[in-house]
């Protein structure tokens, strides 16, 4: 079979519709479908990756040539992000394998596959309206997954998410309307060229709409009101999906659009400020949280701030650092959510104070949490160290010493609240109840993440070679434009 990027969108979509049908026949079989999909797509992604590094793969859908038809652009950035999504998706599936309880699993997997469709679509598409559609697919799947447990709080969180999310899509659609009325094209590469002729005021308004719209899903402060609720009330694997896939996809969309059309230094300055504020507010709010998952949610916001900072410095090393930190955050935060999920499950309460002494009751899961906590603090020899280091060095090279200091201060705040949880896990109660086991699939999922974190920590070169082309691809739009439009200019 010929491997093409369109499979990244088509196969999960197909799987999403296949799942309810298969469920009629066998409920057990449904569980394996996402795993197979992820394995296959990971294989496709890794096969196509070297080709994308040589020359971006541009796939034309339904025979309409750009700028008229929809194209999928599989460049180094997309290749990198999609590979990341597939690996993390696989781990999340592994973790979900035994975790989904009470609710029928086919619904969960169907929504999960829809979400993956949307997220990969966002990463691949070269058409701005198509981007909107994928965005909405992701969002609707995410709203539903947030409320998946049918509990009181889940519904509340999902409604808030939907409320804010609707604003996001409205702004996005308004921006598209403005774009189309001024340029009469929706192809992103074509837009990048034609937007230069649009008058500055309109352009600015479009930009503001994009930042507000996509900033909501990228968890920028003050647009991230939905995030702590959704993270803390969604089922644990879904929280990992949010942190690892949804937010990263929308941040990518924002960055891609900004780098293509609004390459002004003021924009990056604004993003930098927003990133710093997001980081600080996230970390500060996490400090005194009472619920472990809510704490992780705020920590996630803080980390997103850090990533936004890295990207808004807008140099090749900083973008590289941003991508590296993305990977870090995906791996580590998933590990933390995973382990916290079982800790919460077994302590029977979401409160941090209920975690006392769980280190003895659930030694392996607690170990994973402690490991993740040390990793996210940026301590060597875990991968978090390099991510932080790269960002700091990149910021230093752009003479942003204040940003460096603020990042480090937020690191100290982070240390305080994470270490408090570790203390509780291991040292607050010495009595031992019986040891309770975590399902093997969950442990394997966490084990994979742990190994990846260690590998990246000891040998960051493993992925660094791929990050430089990715950074170049995102930073320099000419390559993108040529790759997409070059075909018609022949």
């Amino acid at each position: 079979m010929n491997l093409t990027p369109v499979q990244f969108v088509a196969i999960p979509l197909f799987a999403a519709f296949l799942i309810p049908i298969v469920a009629k026949i066998s409920k057990e079989a449904v569980k394996y479908i996402p795993g197979i999909v992820f394995l296959y797509l990971a294989y496709v992604a890794f096969t196509l990756f070297p080709k994308a590094l040589e020359k971006p793969i541009v796939e034309i859908i339904a025979g309409f040539k750009p700028p008229f038809g929809i194209v999928l652009y599989f460049g180094p950035t997309a290749a990198f992000l999609v590979s990341m999504v597939m690996v993390v998706g696989f781990v999340i599936w592994l973790y979900s394998f035994k975790f989904i309880i009470r609710e029928p699993s086919e619904k969960y997997y169907m929504l999960f596959m829809m979400l993956i469709t949307g997220a990969t679509g966002i990463m691949l598409t070269g058409d701005v309206f198509n981007l909107f559609v994928f965005f909405e697919i992701t969002a609707i799947a995410a709203y539903s997954l947030t409320a998946f447990l049918r509990d009181k709080d889940g519904a509340e969180a999902a409604f808030k998410y939907l409320l804010i999310g609707s604003f996001s899509s409205t702004f996005f659609l308004l921006a598209i309307a403005l774009i189309y009325s001024n340029t009469h094209t929706l192809n992103m590469a074509d837009l990048a060229v034609k937007m230069q002729n649009v008058d500055v005021t309109t352009k600015l308004f479009i930009l503001i709409l994009f930042i507000s719209g996509l900033g909501i899903e990228s968890e920028l402060f003050p647009l991230n009101g939905w995030a702590p609720d959704a993270y803390s009330q969604a089922p644990t694997p879904v929280a990992a999906v949010f942190a690892g896939i949804v937010v990263k996809a929308s941040l990518y969309a924002l960055l891609r659009l900004v780098f293509l059309m609004f390459n002004w230094s003021e924009v990056f300055y604004l993003l930098l400020v927003l990133g710093v504020i997001t980081m600080l507010v996230g970390e500060m709010s996490a400090m005194r949280q009472h619920q472990i998952k809510r704490m992780l949610a705020f920590s996630s916001i803080g980390q997103m701030g850090l990533i936004v900072i890295a990207f808004s410095i807008a140099t090749v090393p900083s973008l590289q650092a941003g991508f590296f930190q993305m990977v870090n955050h995906v791996l580590i935060k998933s590990l933390l959510f995973f382990s916290a999920g079982y800790l919460v499950f077994h302590s029977g309460s979401k409160d941090i104070s209920a975690l006392d002494g769980l280190g003895k009751e659930k030694p392996i899961t607690s170990f994973f949490f402690a490991f993740g906590a040390l990793a996210i603090l940026g301590l060597p020899p875990f991968s978090g160290f390099w991510g932080k280091m790269f960002i700091l060095m990149a910021a230093g090279n752009s003479h942003l010493l204040l940003v460096v200091v603020l990042i480090l201060i937020s690191g100290i705040i982070e240390a305080v609240y994470y270490l408090r949880v570790i203390s509780r896990l291991y040292f607050y109660k010495e009595t031992t109840k019986e040891v309770r086991r975590t399902p093997v699939s969950g442990l394997v999922a966490m084990g994979i993440l742990t190994v990846l974190i260690i590998i990246l920590g000891l040998y960051p070169n493993t992925i660094l070679a791929y990050l430089k082309p990715a950074a170049n691809d995102l930073l320099h739009r000419t390559e993108y434009i040529n790759a997409v439009l070059g075909q018609i200019h022949l």
Partner: protein, 616 residues
């Protein structure tokens, strides 16, 4: 075997293996660790001195490791003290929980320290610095619930220190473009004044946290008190020396070519002296033996910092000499205190007393320890202190001499209290059945005690590696020979004859007094000392150790109450409280969040000229 990577791999892998052994075959865990540590000591000793032993490229940075004389001195401190501590741990830690965790963190922190002293670039230095920090943090919180707050404080201060170093690295990297020592040393002079100043201050701050220099010392008393004594020996003896290592590196290698150098040194010297002074006061009023030793440690490190900061050949020699001495005697004292804890279960000086008969070897160690600390000949502390005073006088720092001499004298107060409360005085009922500690714990203590004697009699033995280390720091030419103490005798061989006499006399007198005194001692009861007509009841506490220095406390109490620690705690509380208010931004009402979104959009539109420079 004796490659630098071999040392790293052995140390870190042994940590993991010890952890696994604890969970599979706990019997061989201790001996395994001891043997490995022994091998490491040998490897560190044999490792050839060469600036570039191992280099590779990791994540676009060149990482270089090498063995310099300077690093070797510190590596030997770490290795030898580590070996003694682990020997001591076998019995000391027996039966405690989480031993796998203990050994793992132990090896990791040792490995981290090796990494620091062997690294030839700032990235790997920082990498291992952080490993050392978190593994020692794990040992601080090792014991119990009450250690958690102390551990957090330790970690926060360590993080402040580490991040200062990190910021300095960022500044250096952005202006030099490389973080290898060779490039940094060469390129530093070309940076502009403010960057230079920033880098130096940040580095000194960062390293100063680990060497517990005031006002960044507040983590130390608690952390030293709460860690298991076998690790406290390392903590105070070796880990704090990493700060000294860094300060030396900063002052003499990185900042050596700069103009503002003298006054930075002057300030640092004063900080060191004041650290010594105040730490001594606090030590005098400590009631816990380990807290006392912790403050003593802070004070001694203050001397070392002053010595380094003065920057004359003799003062650096004194500082490095004291560094080694401090590792030895503070190791001894913490091990001895640990021995007391091992048998009595407490280190509270008001609760334990009169152990001299029960634990003679421990007493001997402690005695040697305090003699060394106070710098009385013939033990090794004397030479170090002498050189320090002399260098201060030579370089016309008369006020500093006064301060340091004063705090050094005041140190007698707490040292006397230490040995009196624990070992002398009346025996307590509770300690009736106390025995001397096992041999495996005695050996390290006695060997360290022997070392103080040997280095005291023949300081040249130690001054050779010290002056070799100084050659790395800079071309100081003649070093310790400039001292009045040494130029007559040249080096170690001639010193021996003179010192031997003192030593032999001392030993003979000690033996005679001991034998004679031992025969004529008589068991003293409570009534013997205290009855002036009244017969005290059983439960009346007549121990001297309570309110030992009450008069002094009355005199100085108000000064000491205003501690920096309280300021830090208050700052922390206020910050946390304000963070707590901040999270009220997330009101929980979906409409408020929607309002934020609309407001955000409006602000961007209204202030577009301000933000984007374009009017909408």
């Amino acid at each position: 075997m004796f490659s630098i990577s071999g040392i790293f791999i052995t140390t870190f892998v042994s940590g993991l293996v010890a952890f696994l052994l604890h969970h599979s075959v706990p019997k061989i865990r201790d001996w395994f660790s001891i043997v490995i540590m022994g091998v490491i000591v040998y490897a560190v000793w044999e490792l050839p001195v060469k600036a570039n032993l191992l280099s590779f490229k990791l994540a676009n940075y060149n990482l270089v490791f090498g063995n310099t004389e300077y690093g070797r001195l510190f590596a030997l401190i770490v290795a030898v003290l580590g070996f003694f501590a682990i020997l001591y741990s076998k019995d000391f830690m027996e039966g405690k929980p989480r031993l796998g965790y203990f050994y793992m963190a132990f090896f990791f922190s040792i490995g981290g320290m090796f990494g620091i002293v062997y690294s030839q670039d700032l990235i790997s230095l920082f990498f291992f610095w952080e490993i050392m920090t978190w593994s020692s943090f794990l040992l601080v919180i090792y014991c119990c619930k009450e250690a958690q707050k102390i551990g957090l404080k330790y970690f926060v201060f360590s993080a402040i220190g580490a991040y200062s170093i990190m910021t300095a690295m960022v500044v250096l990297y952005s202006s030099i473009g490389s973080l290898q020592f060779a490039d940094v040393f060469a390129g530093f002079g070309k940076m502009d004044f403010w960057s230079q100043l920033l880098v130096v201050v940040l580095l000194l701050m960062g390293f100063g946290v680990k060497s517990a220099t005031m006002p960044l010392h507040v983590w130390a008393p608690g952390a030293y008190r709460i860690t298991p004594s076998s690790f406290t020996a390392i903590f105070s003896g070796a880990l704090s020396k990493m700060g000294i290592f860094g300060i030396g590196l900063t002052l003499f290698k990185i900042a050596s070519a700069t103009g503002f150098y003298p006054w930075v040194q002057e300030i640092l010297a004063w900080i060191g002296a004041l650290t010594a002074l105040f730490a001594t006061f606090y030590a005098v009023f400590a009631t816990d033996a380990k807290t006392l030793l912790a403050y003593s440690s802070i004070g001694q490190l203050g001397y070392i910092v002053t010595g380094l900061a003065i920057g004359t050949p003799l003062s650096i020699a004194a500082a490095l000499f004291l560094t080694v001495m401090h590792a030895i005697f503070k190791g001894m004292l913490f091990l001895a205190t640990g021995a007391v804890y091992y048998r009595t279960g407490t280190t509270d000086m008001t609760k334990v007393s009169g152990l001299i008969r029960k634990m003679p070897y421990t007493f001997l160690t402690a005695l040697f320890g305090i003699i060394t600390v106070s710098g009385v000949p013939p033990l090794a502390g004397f030479s170090g202190k002498w050189m320090l005073y002399e260098s201060l006088i030579q370089s016309n720092h008369y006020f500093l001499v006064v301060v340091i001499f004063f705090s050094s004298t005041a140190a007698f107060l707490y040292l006397y209290r230490y040995i009196f409360s624990l070992f002398l005085g009346q025996e307590e009922k509770e300690t009736e059945n106390v025995k001397e500690v096992p041999w495996l714990m005695r050996i390290p203590m006695l060997l360290l005690a022997l070392a103080t004697l040997v280095f005291g009699v023949a300081p040249g033995l130690l001054l050779h590696p010290v002056s070799a280390a100084m050659k790395y720091l800079g071309d100081f030419g003649v070093t310790y020979q400039t001292s009045v103490l040494f130029n007559e005798w040249g080096n170690k061989v001639d010193m021996l004859t003179v010192a031997n006499t003192i030593g032999v006399v001392f030993i003979i007198v000690t033996i005679i007094i001991t034998i004679k005194g031992y025969r004529s001692t008589r068991y003293v009861t409570t009534k013997d000392i205290h009855t002036s007509g009244e017969v005290p009841t059983e439960n009346e506490n007549l121990t001297y150790a309570v309110d030992f220095y009450k008069p002094f406390e009355r005199a100085l109490g108000s000064v000491l109450k205003a501690s920096v620690d309280k300021i830090y705690n208050a700052t922390g509380r206020i910050l946390e409280q304000s963070f707590d208010y901040l999270r009220y931004v997330y009101t929980g009402n979906g409409q408020t969040y929607a309002m934020y979104v609309v407001l955000f959009l409006t602000i961007l539109v209204v202030f577009s000229e301000l933000i984007f420079g374009i009017k909408l």
